[in-house]
C-alpha cells in the first residue's frame, strides 16, 4: 500500500470520525480549548508580571558620591568614563543642589526641618542604572570593581537591601509561577488525555471491527492521531481566541487599576509566537492524548 494512499485513507477516516461523531469531536476540541485558555491566561499573567518586574528593576541604581573638590568639567568627564563601564545602562549626574532638592521633596511635610541647615551637606553623585541582566549582586560587584580605581569617586551607595528584595521578589514570583504552571500543565495534560480517552472509548466497538477485518495497528491508529491533532489545533485556536476576547473585555478596568496603583499601565497580550506556541501545544496534546489512550485501551481491543 503506497504511503500516499495510506495517508489519504487515514485522512478520510479521520474526517469520518469527526463528521460521524461530531459530539465527541467537538467536546474533545472544546475541552482542549478550555484547558489552553487556562494555560494561556496564566502565561499572560506571568509575562505581564515579568514586564512589571523588569520596570521595577530598571529603577535599581547605584549612587557614586563624588568628592567635594571635583569641578563641573571633571564631573562630565567622569560621567563619560562610567558610561563605558561593564553592565552600565545609563549614567545621570546629580549635583549638590539637585540632591538637596530631592531630599527636601522626599521629606514632604517635614521639609521645614531642613530650613535650619547652614550649608548643603549633601554631595553630588552619579546615578548609575544597570542593564537588565546585571541587576543583581554579581552585577553590582562587577560594577563596584570597575569604579574602584576611578579618581573623584568618594563612596559607592549600593542600595543593597532594595536589590536584595527585588531579587527575592523575582525569585519568589517566578517560583510560584513555576509551581502553579507545573500543576496547571500537568492537569491540562491529564484532562486532555482523559477526554480523548473517553472519546476513543466511545468508539471502541469501531476499533474492534476495523481490527477484525484485518486493519493493522497503524491503520487503526492513524485516523485517531490525525483527529486528535486536528482537535488540538482547533482547540488551541479557540483557546487563544477566547483568551483574546477575555483580555479585551477586561483590559479597560485592568489598565485603570494598574495606572492608579503603579503609575504605569501597559498590559500586553501574548505575542504571535506565544499564540502559535499555544496552538502547537494543543496539536501535540491532541496527538499525545490519542496515542496514550490508544496504547492503554488498544490492548484490550
Amino acid at each position: 500500500m503506497s504511503s500516499v494512499a495510506q495517508v489519504r485513507t487515514a485522512l478520510r477516516t479521520a474526517l469520518h470520525g469527526v463528521t460521524g461523531s461530531p459530539v465527541t469531536s467537538l467536546v474533545a476540541a472544546g475541552t482542549i480549548g478550555l484547558c489552553l485558555l487556562l494555560v494561556g491566561a496564566f502565561m499572560l499573567l506571568v509575562s505581564n508580571m515579568d514586564r512589571l518586574l523588569d520596570r521595577f528593576g530598571s529603577e535599581i541604581r547605584v549612587s557614586a558620591y563624588l568628592s567635594e573638590e571635583l569641578d563641573a568639567p571633571s564631573q562630565q568627564e567622569l560621567v563619560a568614563r562610567v558610561e563605558t563601564a561593564p553592565g552600565v545602562e545609563s549614567v545621570e549626574l546629580v549635583t549638590k543642589e539637585q540632591a538637596l532638592e530631592r531630599f527636601r521633596d522626599a521629606q514632604g511635610e517635614r521639609a521645614a526641618l531642613l530650613d535650619g541647615l547652614e550649608e548643603n551637606p549633601l554631595p553630588a553623585s552619579l546615578e548609575i542604572a544597570l542593564v537588565p541582566e546585571q541587576r543583581n549582586q554579581a552585577g553590582l560587584r562587577v560594577l563596584g570593581e570597575a569604579l574602584e580605581g576611578l579618581p573623584g569617586i568618594a563612596e559607592l551607595g549600593y542600595g543593597h537591601e532594595w536589590i536584595e528584595g527585588y531579587q527575592q521578589a523575582v525569585a519568589l514570583i517566578r517560583g510560584v509561577a513555576f509551581a502553579i504552571g507545573g500543576v496547571l500543565g500537568l492537569a491540562t495534560l491529564l484532562i486532555v488525555a482523559n477526554t480523548i480517552r473517553l472519546s476513543i472509548y466511545a468508539r471502541r466497538e469501531e476499533i474492534e471491527i476495523v481490527r477484525l477485518v484485518g486493519g493493522s495497528r497503524s491503520f487503526m491508529a492513524a485516523p485517531f492521531l490525525l483527529e486528535g491533532g486536528a482537535q488540538g489545533i482547533v482547540g488551541g485556536g479557540v483557546g487563544v481566541l477566547l483568551l483574546y476576547g477575555f483580555y479585551w473585555i477586561l483590559l479597560p478596568s485592568l489598565r485603570g487599576g494598574l495606572e492608579l496603583l503603579l503609575g504605569y499601565a501597559e498590559p500586553a497580550f501574548l505575542g504571535l509566537d506565544e499564540s502559535l506556541w499555544l496552538v502547537t501545544a494543543g496539536a501535540l496534546l491532541g496527538v499525545l492524548g490519542s496515542a496514550l489512550a490508544l496504547i492503554q485501551d488498544g490492548d484490550r481491543a
Partner: protein, 239 residues
C-alpha cells in the same frame, strides 16, 4: 478423524485444526479435541445446537480467540505463534460474516464494504467499482449512501456478506449468514457463497437450516457440546 496421529500436511489444506480445545471458563469446554481440515475450494456446513461451539470454532480460525489446547494452522501459519502483528495480514485473507454482523454504525453501506479493501490498500477508483458491483449482487446498491442502522435486519446481513466477499478471500467463514433472510434471498446468497467456493475459496458455513444443508448436499460437520459428533464428506477426502 485424522489420517494418523501426527499432523499430516495435505497440499490444499487451508485450515487445519489439530486436537483443538477451547475453554472460556475453567471447568467447561466450548470446544473439545476438535481436529479437522478445510481444503481449497471446499464448502462445509457446520451445524449443531445452540451453544455447541460453532462460532467459537470460527473465532479460533480468524484468531479472534486463542485455543486452550492444540494447534491451528491457517494459510500455512500457526495462529498461536503469529503474534499481534501477524494477525492483521492473516485476517485480510479471510472473509468473515459475523453472527451479529459487526457493521460500522457511523459509516455508510458503501464504506462498510470498502473498509475491507482499504485495509489492503486498493486504490480509490478500483475500490468504488468493486464495491458497487458487490452491493449490486446482494441487492443493496440503491442503499449505498445510507447507514447500517437504517437497514432492515436482512439488509444488514447482506451487507455483512458483501464485506466478507469483496476481497476474494481464500477462506470464508459465514456464521449463520441467512438467519434473517427469506427463503428466496437465502438461495441467492448461498449461490453467491457457492460461487466463491467454485473459484477456490474454502468455505465454512454455520447454519441451523436443515433444508439448506439438504439442498446443497455438501460435507457437514456437526458439533455437540464442543465435540465433533459427525463429519460426513460429500466431496473431498477427509475421514
Amino acid at each position: 478423524m485424522s489420517r494418523g496421529e501426527g499432523p499430516v500436511v495435505s497440499a490444499g489444506a487451508l485450515v487445519r485444526l489439530f486436537h483443538v480445545s477451547k475453554s472460556y471458563l475453567a471447568g467447561s469446554w466450548a470446544l473439545r479435541d476438535v481436529s479437522l481440515e478445510l481444503e481449497k475450494g471446499e464448502f462445509v456446513f457446520l451445524t449443531g445446537p445452540s451453544g455447541a461451539g460453532k462460532s467459537t470454532l470460527m473465532r479460533l480460525i480468524f484468531a479472534g480467540e486463542q485455543p486452550s489446547e492444540g494447534q491451528i494452522l491457517v494459510l500455512g501459519r500457526n495462529v498461536g505463534r503469529v503474534g499481534p502483528a501477524g494477525i492483521a495480514p492473516l485476517r485480510r485473507r479471510i472473509g468473515v460474516v459475523f453472527q451479529d454482523f459487526k457493521l460500522l454504525p457511523r459509516r455508510t453501506v458503501e464504506e462498510n464494504v470498502g473498509i475491507a479493501l482499504d485495509v489492503v490498500g486498493v486504490a480509490e477508483r478500483e475500490k468504488r467499482a468493486r464495491v458497487f458491483a458487490m452491493l449490486k449482487r446482494v441487492g443493496l446498491h440503491h442503499r449505498r449512501h445510507h447507514h447500517p442502522l437504517s437497514l432492515s435486519g436482512g439488509e444488514q446481513q447482506r451487507l455483512a456478506i458483501a464485506r466478507a466477499l469483496i476481497n476474494d478471500p481464500e477462506i470464508l467463514l459465514a456464521d449463520e449468514p441467512t438467519g434473517n433472510l427469506d427463503p428466496d434471498l437465502t438461495l441467492e446468497i448461498m449461490d453467491l457463497i457457492a460461487d466463491a467456493a467454485a473459484r477456490g475459496t474454502a468455505v465454512f458455513v454455520a447454519t441451523h437450516d436443515h433444508a439448506l444443508i439438504e439442498r446443497y448436499g455438501r460435507r457437514v460437520v456437526r458439533l455437540e457440546a464442543g465435540e465433533v459428533v459427525h463429519d460426513a464428506p460429500v466431496r473431498g477426502p477427509l475421514s
